[in-house]
């Protein structure tokens, strides 16, 4: 299990629509902001990388000292970004794929406006469960 992991879904307008700290490490108060900062900066990398491959899973795109940013880009250019310190590449890929499925289910909700914040607690619970499962 990763000690630190921060998962963010960024809409195609670069707006974060879902955030979750999914690591097991005792949370530093300021960590959320730092993680946000790192992930936000990694968008620069993603913007270059996303168009060079047809795969959705971009693997680790950026590295920040010990932390690694893995990114998964959906067809609608919604980006799932995970900041983590574990090396479990396969697990992260599966995690992304399962979250993608969850995300699509959310999109299918007629009351959910694409590009708006995902506030569903069900989604949150599921994502956290997936995180526990995979890393």
């Amino acid at each position: 299990m990763a000690t630190t992991a921060c998962f963010i879904i960024v809409s195609r307008n670069d707006i974060p629509i879902y955030e979750a700290e999914v690591g097991v490490a005792a949370k530093r108060e300021d960590a959320a902001q730092l993680h946000q900062f790192i992930l936000h900066a990694a968008l620069d990398v993603v913007q270059d990388l996303a168009w060079t491959t047809s795969a959705m899973y971009l693997k680790s795109v950026d590295r920040f000292n010990e932390l690694v940013v893995s990114v998964y880009v959906t067809a609608g250019h919604t980006r799932f970004m995970l900041l983590h310190d574990s090396r479990n590449d396969d697990g992260i890929k599966s995690f992304f794929q399962d979250v993608h499925e969850l995300y699509i289910k959310t999109l299918l909700n007629p009351l959910y406006l694409p590009g708006s914040r995902i506030t569903s607690s069900h989604f949150d619970t599921k994502v956290r469960a997936l995180a526990r499962k995979y890393f």
């Binding site: 730092l34 900062f37 932390l67």
Partner: protein, 1273 residues
């Protein structure tokens, strides 16, 4: 072989180009040298690369050296093999000869001797000294050259060329160059082959213990050097790459503990671009090299070649990864390296790389994508150097100067502290410095956050420095000091610098105490006592002074100003390059750091600009946590710069951020700032966009529905994002029509102050009448104090200034629907059947609201001509059960009638108006107006033949109604009702029988015209002149039949017996032309169905009393018509038609129909007028003669014969005679035919059968040739 390393190095350094030896056989070199050397360096030389593929080398530098030169002579054969790369690559043999014999005897053997050495690549240049004018000499030279060619050139290879000293042939130099190149190529191939073989041999022994990396290195580098000399840089680079791989393998593989290096003075400065930084002999270690120096050396060689290949971008990209990987190696050996050596090395390496690559970089020559990548690498290098520099600065104590922004915090707090074997301790003589530092720490107050934001500053350190430093030191001594220390630090763990600085007053106190107790020199680096922060700083500073050899870097760390300068330079470099590489997020974030420095220095203008960029990025992408960090700074700048609009906007943005990002107190501070500015004098009041803070929407549920021209009240939900109540002095809200954009948008205004509570509020606005259509909410504008604000109805889902957001916006829900004009009310006559004319009747007006309230409606009643309203102006109103006509279901109607409660009210008409009671607002009602239709004419009866339409038109009256209704009487409805009035009866008469005694039975038929029961009480007939009642009665029928009741629309008959009577002279004066039928009747009907009993004032009329009305009608009686006695018939005309000018015979037949006796003649004469009576009798006497007369229009007809005359006709019944008249039509067309009249016989007695034609057709005259006139004449 490693012993040759030094020699190898010097040889390599001394020779830098290919050598071409010159064998000067005939002492010609001094003469031709200038011409030969002018050809250097060679252009476009074709060489083979390592894979034996031809490569065109642009310029190939070379050097001509005489074989007699000492440089070539003094070499040992062994050396020659080892350092083969410096040996000549070609040998040019310069000869001349003017005599064949001489050639044969002297030159040829000598040349043979020279070229017998197979190792060398040689060729012969025959120099002809012969002047072209001298034919003899030229010929001889040619001959000798021919001989030479025969001797030395072969079919395979041309080895000779001829150089004419005076007039060189045009292609000589090309020939020479190609020959030299050929030689060089061959030599090169051979030597490369040799080195490769050698290297392969060595490689095979790699795993053997005897293997020596130095030997391998010398061979490999020799090969690389050969390529480099041949300007085959690609191949050279590949050799170095292989060398590096091989080296790393040996380093990693061998389990031997080797010296890493890097401990020497000056090693802290990276030598990544300087291969000659240290002599290789210095770094050699046993059979290999020290890693620290040698890896840098290899990289330097590679980058040198890359620069030669003009690939600075590759240098940058290889350099960046080299720095990263080398930094890792440094980290592994950090314990043996000087304090912070790694950080210093990275800084210097980054800066050196940046400098070298940018200076070698030609702007604009690259493909944009590659260029982008280059700037990205530069940005990365700058930012790497920047982070390390900040780390050093923090250690020295400039932590307060470093902005605690997310970027700095993220870079520094995740970066571990340096891990020296022992943390440096305070030098003995540094007590004053420690005091200074302590003072500095005390003086610096943590930067106050604006708006009193109480947020924990972000950390700049991975763990508390105090603890880390002491732990590193304590690990040497007894461990419990650390624990003691830890307990002291416990409560403020993780808070970093601020916490420790907050602690420092107590600690200073403690230390001053200790100073009094002990000697002043006590704290000079005793290991047992934990160091204080100031001591750590001073110790680090001293240690760094030891480490850093670069004066510039030292200077940058010498003071906070210098630090700031360098920090700014690095930050700017990184930001600029990130911007150029389109990594806007990286760039803009660093802009924010520049802004922070500018802010500190007081350059608020510049700071505001940069902060704005950062805020725009974060808010544009909706990263609110990060925005919340920067926005207060921007606001502060704007406040200082007195940019009220910007400041207000920033405050609004702060307020509209997620609520959990700031505490309520902070948010209240933002609001109070907004209010303070709003109520102060603003210089340039600009509308403030508060879309994100005050949002509004229509109420849930269906939109407000209004009818055309109706005003209303609109209720709107407004959300306030302010933490406290806020008073809006006025607001106005625009509505936009969805169907029609260009219509002027009307604003709804509310001038009263509205207090918005935090969260949801409902406000109501007056709505003026709107045009039909549906409307959505537009813009909310309003005023807070002096401040005008506006808000679009964006919800909080996303940032408003994002272009893409519009596409996600929910479709606007209409809030107001104004219907197209439709009938809101219907006015019609309640009763369709006729009312009694000339009587007071209730006119029912059915008022039916169509889903629209008629509260306080006013009805104007205006009567048309022939109609008047009764003077008492009484109006009765009652509710009406007859609901809408459109009710399809019978059931619905029944329910309505069941629930229906009858209401009744008596109203008065005031000035032609009547006001509706409230109960009549929604239900249909009937308004009963008392009116009277006036008709002066007398009703006329008719005989059975005539129609009765006339009377219906007479009874039509109109009444104009105008209803004003709606909340503000804004709606009007006008209608003119036609009301039908009628007499109660319609009378028809008929003589039923003509008795023999001359009595006529006159039957009067009464048709009931009304839907009411009529009761006839009495009826009498006032006869006209010439008729009398039989039996001298008054003409009343037998009264026992009365009262006679007539049901609605049924008939009744009364029979009068009259006879023709004479009149006397007196009566003639008062003679009446018509008979009058008088009927006394009563009526009992319901006003809801039609005619009814006339209304009487209560004073006069008593219920139950029989109300008798008189109906009078005029009847015209005519004398009975006599029987015809003569028939006139028109005989048919010839069938071929009539023509103008053609005679035609008209014929009439006259026939006596009855026998004409005296009595009848006398009776006949009664009908004649008195004055003609005598004459008539005269004619009658000659009974068998009839007077006839033909009347014709003389313009149409010419009559030939008698127009008037007597013809005899027997008096017997059936006598007949034919009267013929010749006529000639004069005009063509349809004309009236001539008519036959009998003047003596009363027309009543003539019967025309068959009747004459009305019009007859006359054809135009036939054409006559005599009228033809030739056209041409």
């Amino acid at each position: 072989m490693a012993n040759f390393l030094a020699q190898f190095q010097t040889i390599k350094n001394s020779s830098d180009r290919l050598v071409i030896s010159v064998e000067d056989v005939s002492d010609l070199w001094p003469t031709v040298k200038p011409a030969f050397e002018a050809r250097l360096p060679f252009k476009k030389a074709s060489l083979n690369n390592k894979t034996r593929n031809p490569v065109l080398v642009e310029t190939l530098p070379a050097e001509f050296i005489l074989t007699t030169d000492s440089r070539l002579r003094s070499r040992f054969p062994q050396e020659q093999l080892l350092f083969w790369f410096r040996e000549p690559y070609a040998t040019v043999v310069l000869v001349t000869c003017e005599d064949l014999d001489e050639f044969k005897t002297i030159l040829k053997p000598r040349l043979k001797l020279i070229v017998q050495n197979d190792e060398r690549e040689w060729f012969i240049v025959f120099v002809s000294k012969a002047h072209p004018a001298n034919d003899q000499a030229s010929k001889m030279a040619k001959k000798v050259y021919a001989k030479l060619e025969v001797e030395f050139s072969s079919k395979k290879r041309e080895r000779c060329c001829k150089y004419d000293m005076h007039f060189p042939e045009a292609n000589f130099w090309e020939d020479l160059e190609s020959k030299i190149t050929e030689c060089i190529r061959n030599t090169l191939d051979r030597r490369v082959q040799f080195y490769e073989d050698e290297i392969r041999k060595l490689s095979e022994q790699r795993l053997m213990p005897v293997w020596n990396f130095c030997n391998f290195f010398i061979l490999k580098e020799s090969l690389a050097f050969i390529f480099e000399m041949g300007h085959l840089h690609e191949d050279a680079l590949r050799e170095y790459d292989e060398l590096e791989l091989c080296y790393l393998e040996t380093v990693n593989m061998s389990g031997k503990q080797r010296d890493f290096g890097g401990g020497e003075r000056g090693d802290d400065q990276a030598a990544v671009l300087n291969p000659g930084n240290k002599a290789l002999t210095q770094i050699v270690q046993e059979d290999s090299f020290r890693e620290f120096e040698f890896r840098q050396y290899l990289f330097a060689c590679q980058s040198k070649l890359l620069f030669k290949l003009n690939r600075p971008i590759e240098v940058a990209s290889r350099g960046y990864s080299f720095i990263i990987s080398f930094s890792k190696s440094l980290a592994l050996h950090e314990r043996i390296l000087p304090f912070c050596m790694r950080e210093v090395w990275v800084i210097t390496a980054c800066l050196a790389l940046v400098e070298a690559t940018t200076s070698n970089y030609n702007d604009g020559l690259m493909v944009p994508d590659i260029e982008k990548e280059f700037f990205l690498l530069l940005g990365d290098l700058y930012s790497l150097g920047r982070v390390k520099f900040m780390r050093l600065a923090y250690l020295v104590g400039y932590g307060t100067e470093i902005e605690r922004s997310p970027v700095n915090s993220a870079s520094l707090s995740l970066l571990p502290w340096p891990k020296p074997a022992v943390w440096p301790s305070v030098p003995a003589d540094a007590s004053s410095e420690v005091l200074d530092k302590e003072k500095l720490i005390l003086q610096t107050t943590p930067r106050a956050k604006h708006f009193g934001i109480q947020r924990k500053p972000l950390p700049l350190e991975p763990t508390v420095l105090l603890r880390e430093a002491n732990r590193r030191r304590a690990s040497l001594s007894a461990g419990n000091v650390f624990e003691i220390f830890d307990s002291r630090q416990g409560p403020v763990e993780g808070s970093g610098f601020d916490a420790s600085s907050r602690m420092s007053p107590q600690k200073v106190h403690a230390s001053s105490m200790s100073r009094t107790n002990s000697s002043p020199g006590n704290f000079d680096g005793s290991i047992d006592r934990p160091m204080r922060l100031a001591e750590i700083y001073v110790a680090a500073e001293h240690a760094l002074k030891q480490t850093i050899s670069n004066q510039e870097l030292l200077k940058s760390l010498s003071s906070s100003e210098e630090f700031e300068q360098k920090y700014l330079e690095l930050t700017k470099g990184a930001a600029d390059n990130y911007h150029r590489s389109w990594w806007k997020r990286h760039g803009v974030v660093l802009d924010g750091e520049i802004a922070a420095v500018a802010f500190k220095r007081g350059h608020f203008d510049q700071a505001a600009k940069s902060y704005e960029k950062v805020c725009a990025l974060y808010s544009g992408e909706g990263w609110q946590d990060l925005l919340a960090e920067v926005l207060p700074y921007l606001a502060e700048c704007q406040k200082i710069l007195d940019d009220q609009a910007g400041y207000l906007l920033s405050c609004v943005r702060l307020l509209s951020l997620d609520e959990e990002l700031f505490s309520t107190k902070e948010r209240q501070a933002f609001q109070s700032e907004v209010l303070r500015l709003a109520h102060s004098e603003m210089k340039n009041p600009v509308p403030l966009d508060v879309s994100s803070l005050i949002t509004f929407s229509g109420n849930p549920g269906p939109p407000l529905e209004l009818c055309d021209r109706d005003p209303g009240i609109l209720s709107v939900t407004v959300w306030s994002g302010f933490p406290d109540d806020i008073t809006l002095d006025s607001i106005s809200l625009t509505l936009m029509a969805t169907n029609n954009a260009d219509e002027g948008v009307k604003a709804l205004k509310s001038s009263t102050a509205i207090v918005l509570q935090p969260g949801r509020n409902t406000i109501t606005l007056d709505l003026p009448p709107h045009k039909p259509g549906s409307y959505v909410l537009g813009v909310l504008t309003g005023q807070i104090g002096q401040l005008r604000f506006r808000s679009h109805s964006f919800s909080k889902i996303g940032p408003a200034d994002c272009d893409d957001f519009m596409s996600y916006e929910k479709p606007a829900k209409p809030i107001l629907k104004v219907f197209k004009p439709r009938a809101l009310v219907d006015l019609e006559a309640a009763v369709s059947s006729a009312l009694l004319i000339n009587e007071h009747q209730w006119l029912g007006i059915l008022v039916r609201p169509l889903n629209y309230s008629l509260r306080a409606a006013v009805l104007h009643i205006d009567t048309g001509p022939g109609l008047e309203i009764e003077k008492s102006h009484i109006i009765e109103m009652e509710s009406c059960a007859c609901v809408s006509q459109n009710d399809d279901g019978q059931g619905g109607a029944q329910v309505d009638s069941l629930n229906y409660e009858k209401r009744f009210e008596r109203l008065t008409l005031d000035d032609g108006k009547v006001v509706f009671p409230n109960w009549a607002s929604d239900t249909p009602s009937v308004l009963w107006v008392l009116i009277r239709a006036i008709s002066d004419t007398l009703c006329r009866g008719s005989s059975s033949g005539t129609t009765r339409r006339e009377s219906i038109v007479d009874g039509m009256r109109t009444i104009a109604l105008k209803l004003e209704f709606g909340a503000f009487h804004n709606q009007t409805f006008e209608r003119t009702l036609a009301v039908h009035f009628t007499y109660p009866f319609y009378v028809r008469t008929r003589v039923t029988d003509k008795c023999n005694d001359g009595t006529l039975l006159l039957q009067v038929i009464l048709h009931s015209e009304v839907k009411a029961t009529l009761t006839v009480y009495d009826a009498w007939l006032d006869l006209q002149d010439g008729f009398i009642h039989t039996g001298q009665t008054d003409g009343r029928p037998n009264s026992s039949f009365f009262p006679l009741i007539i049901s609605p629309t049924s008939k009744a008959g009364i029979l009068f017996s009259i006879c023709l009577g004479k009149t006397n002279a007196e009566e003639e004066a008062t003679k009446q032309p018509e008979s009058i039928l008088n009927i006394k009747y009563g009526i009992s009907g319901d006003r809801t169905s039609g005619a009814h009993r006339p209304f009487l004032n209560e004073s006069t009329g008593v219920d139950g009393v029989r109300q008798e009305l008189i109906f009078k009608t005029a009847i015209t009686l005519q004398r009975p018509v006599l029987d015809p006695c003569i028939a006139v018939g028109f005989l048919p005309l010839p069938s071929d038609g009539l023509r103008v000018g053609q005679l035609v015979k008209m014929q009439w037949r006259v026939e006596r129909l009855k026998y004409l006796d005296e009595k009848e003649v006398s009776q006949q004469s009664v009908s004649l007028r008195k004055q003609k009576k005598e004459e008539c009798l005269l004619h009658v006497r000659s009974l068998d003669e009839v007077l006839y007369e033909v009347n014709a229009n003389s313009g149409n007809w010419m009559i030939a014969g008698r127009k008037r005359g007597h013809v005899s006709l027997s008096i017997k019944q059936g006598a007949r005679i034919i009267i013929s008249v010749l006529c000639m039509p004069l005009v063509a067309g349809y004309v009236r035919p001539p008519l036959l009249g009998l003047p003596d016989v009363d027309e009543a007695n003539i019967r025309c059968k068959p009747a004459g034609p009305h019009l007859i057709c006359v054809l135009p005259p036939a054409l006559s040739s005599s009228f033809c006139i030739p056209v041409d004449s």
